[in-house]
Amino acid sequence: MNFCHLQHKAQVPGGVRWTSSCRPAPLLTASPVRALIDDKISIRGHFLPPRCPVTVCAQMQSDDGDLWEAFAHFNTNSDGTVNLTRDPSVGGSYLGCEPMGLLWGLQPAPGAREGLRQGHVSPSERPSTELAAVTAERWYMAPGVRRIEIRQNGVVGTLFLPPGPGPFPAMLDMWGMGGGLVEYRSALFASRGYASFSLAYIGHKDLPGPQNRINVGDPYFNSAFQLLQDHPQVYPDRIGIIGLSFGVYLTLRLASHSGIKPSCLICINGPAGSTIKLTDADGKTEQMENDQKYWTYDDQGNVSFRAVSLPANLSPESKVKLEHLTCPLMYIVGEDDLSASSIENANLIEETLSAAGKSQLFTRLSYPGAGHLIEPPYTPNSRASLWSVKPQKLVTLWGGHLAPHAAAQEDSWKKILEYMETNLRH
């Protein structure tokens, strides 16, 4: 699906019926009505009764068919308007003036699939009187962006190219151990003018099996980088690498190889070495579940993987030779990350680079209250989610609290794009 439909509705609480004999329903507007996921939108209500309570809700159906909702209570002002860019929410999914609160505050609706309900703020009533609605579209891809499935030289991924002749600066984009292929960050980079390649490395049907371990090594990641360099529409000397979670280790490992010269690295909440035992010198690994000694559990039986990536617990032969890095590196920390020891790894990288006389390469962004999954902004996030169903149902903790995590996503995304601009375009 290329975009999601977001329905914004205005409702009055309690069962006040809108008597339709003399006035039309109030007017709810959103601008722009078609935007990229990382664009802000401005939601307003007009022709409402003055100084009156009103609830504005957002509803979104995800690709998997789950319904997400957010709501905020306002009091209209004396001219009968409500403006989410100007007015504070006095209750609901968020508080205070948050123009994008209805988006980042989206939570699975009651009755949604189990396993998605973790971290749900409060049950939403279904007020019987919906006054007005407006539909907005949130797109991952700008018009003209091309999505190309790559299955070449054994490399598995999806390449997004901006419209136009190119050549373009590029990004290699890697996510965590959840596996598969997460495309939307690359799609957004391409919408902002960068060729971007989402690379699969675990848990994908087109990769060598079995799916629960990493069966590709250094040659695979080198090939992926080479593929970008060789692409006729990519500037071979303007390629960056971005990694989240386990993707950070892969980013650092790839960049520390001679012959690979990225222009910059962006690392989000991940380790400087492998959290899973390697099976060979090329970096292939065992199954993640093989070694659970550092897994910790809360009272509900939810698992935190945090301690697994403490520098002392990383498999020593996998620790990346950070002193070999030659390009700028930005490390992004969610201080409430319950899935990775981000602060400790950031410190390790900073210290190692400093000892090698390369401290000018290192930049850190740190966000209190933010969790593990620092993703593009205005997307819903959860404090926990279903990790596996076999052999038993396991819910993993990501950490992070709603409002600070949303703020971290907004700020870090802006800084990521600026960092890319500086290092890949100038």
């Binding site: 039309p24 009505v33 078609r34 007009h46």
Partner: protein
């Protein structure tokens, strides 16, 4: 150490917009003083290519911002944020007399915006292309529903805004060209007004019976709106352009069925035989066909057919009997209808009758006949096929000058939306004065 080549960045925000939304075109990472051409290309539904272009010079920061920087030359000059759209014209070698009108409103108008090195005037396909992006322009907002209407033997399309309603309603009429033209109604629905585009000169019923419709056709259309479960029957407006104005004024003043909250009449006239059928109005115009003139390019000027404005009250809608707010929009260079003269006559009639507080006149110097939603290409003349039997094809002169007409469209549309919103959404008041214009 070798200099990396410049990595030019072109962005248009928003990349998907409604046709009446402005955009910002930004070119960055240029060398200061760099000369470039920004180019727009669109292929319309009929397959014709349209282009616009402008010459810019990058500032000291290596940036060109089309919303703030002056175009030095091209299809427009000076600071014109939306010039790349309203100055679109058929590419060299195209057929003459083209006019751009979107038929399928469910798909966007796609425009390619590109940046070329240097100040180019032509032959763009052979030049060095630095960057290119794609922009979509939509008539329909997400969630707007398109509903074909055939009840009551109507040929119409209703556009309903997103949401439960009830919405104010609007009957949207075009002119003598006939056909079912949907795009303005779709755009109005995107602004919260349930709008029905009505084909009244070439509807199915006329094709079958050979008869031109009459008042009851319009009253049926009004009733469909009034009785629609999601439309507020007490808040219905009419919008007419050209001959659509003739119908709108007649309904507004004389119909026992049609009760309008307000009306907007663009480029039209109140001159018509009172009490006659729609067909008789058309004949009345044809009677004066000998007053047709031709300009130096053999383009047809029809404005004299209604001049001089009659003094005989049976030949003009009695504007003194109008009871709802009315906005008249006229171009002073209208070569197709004498809309300015008629507006002045209507104003005088209403002043004498004491109801001129209902009237707002928007009059634009150097604007022509076809005052349409903003940022669409301008045609001073275009081929026009009459709906007479047999039809004739002529090159009609609409009038207007590119820049003035484009400004008029932008200004008029904005004011029309405010007028419609105030009268359809606001509290009931019989006043045409509104301060935020």
């Amino acid at each position: 150490m070798s200099m990396k080549p410049l990595c030019v960045k072109l962005s248009v925000q928003p990349s998907r917009g409604l046709v009446d939304e402005k955009f910002t075109v930004l070119v960055q990472n240029l060398l200061p003083g760099f000369q470039l051409t920004v180019h727009a290309l669109h292929q319309c539904e009929d397959g014709h290519s349209w282009e616009a272009f402008a010459h810019y010079t990058a500032d000291a920061t290596g940036t060109v911002n089309v919303s703030q920087d002056p175009s030095l030359d091209g299809t427009y000059s000076g600071v014109e944020p939306m010039g790349l759209l309203w100055s679109l014209r058929p590419v060299p070698g195209s057929k003459s007399g083209l006019r751009m009108r979107k038929k399928n409103v469910q798909t966007p108008m796609v425009v390619t915006i590109s940046v070329y090195q240097g100040h180019q005037m032509e032959g763009f396909l052979d030049r060095v292309l630095l960057a290119s992006v794609v922009v979509e322009r939509w008539y329909m907002a997400p969630g707007v529903r398109r509903v074909p209407i055939t009840d009551g033997k109507l040929t119409a399309t209703l556009f309903l805004p997103s949401g439960p309603g009830p919405f104010p309603g609007l009957l949207d009429l075009w002119g003598n060209g006939g056909k079912l033209v949907e795009y303005r109604a779709a755009l109005l629905a995107s602004h919260g007004i349930a709008s029905m585009a009505l084909d009244y000169l070439t509807p199915q019923i006329t094709k079958e019976t050979g008869k031109i419709v009459d008042n009851d056709y319009f009253e049926t259309a009004y009733r469909v709106l009034e009785q629609h479960p999601q439309i507020l029957g007490s808040r219905i407006a009419m919008l007419g352009l050209s001959f659509g104005t003739s119908v709108t004024l007649r309904m507004a003043v004389y119909s026992q069925v049609v009760k309008l909250s307000c009306a907007v009449c663009i480029s039209g006239s109140h001159v018509q035989p009172i009490g006659g059928s729609v067909e008789e109005i058309l004949s009345y115009f044809n009677k004066n066909a000998d007053k047709t003139r031709f300009d130096e390019n053999n383009q047809v000027i029809w404005r004299d057919l209604l001049l001089p404005i009659p003094t005989d009250p049976s030949l003009k809608v009695d504007m003194g009997r109008l009871q709802c707010p009315l906005m008249l929009v006229v171009g002073e260079d209208d070569q197709n209808w004498p809309s300015y003269e008629c507006a002045m006559d209507m104003k005088e009639m209403m002043e004498r009758a004491g109801n001129s507080h209902l009237l707002t006149v928007l009059s634009y110097k150097n604007a022509g006949h076809l005052i349409e939603p903003p940022f669409m290409p301008f045609a001073r003349a275009s081929t026009f096929r009459t709906v007479t039997n047999p039809p004739t094809k002529v090159m009609a002169l609409w009038g207007g000058e590119l820049v003035a007409h484009s400004r008029a469209q932008e200004d008029a549309w904005r004011k029309m939306l405010v007028f419609l919103r105030e009268n359809l959404y606001g509290s009931m008041k019989h006043s045409a004065s509104f301060s935020n214009l």
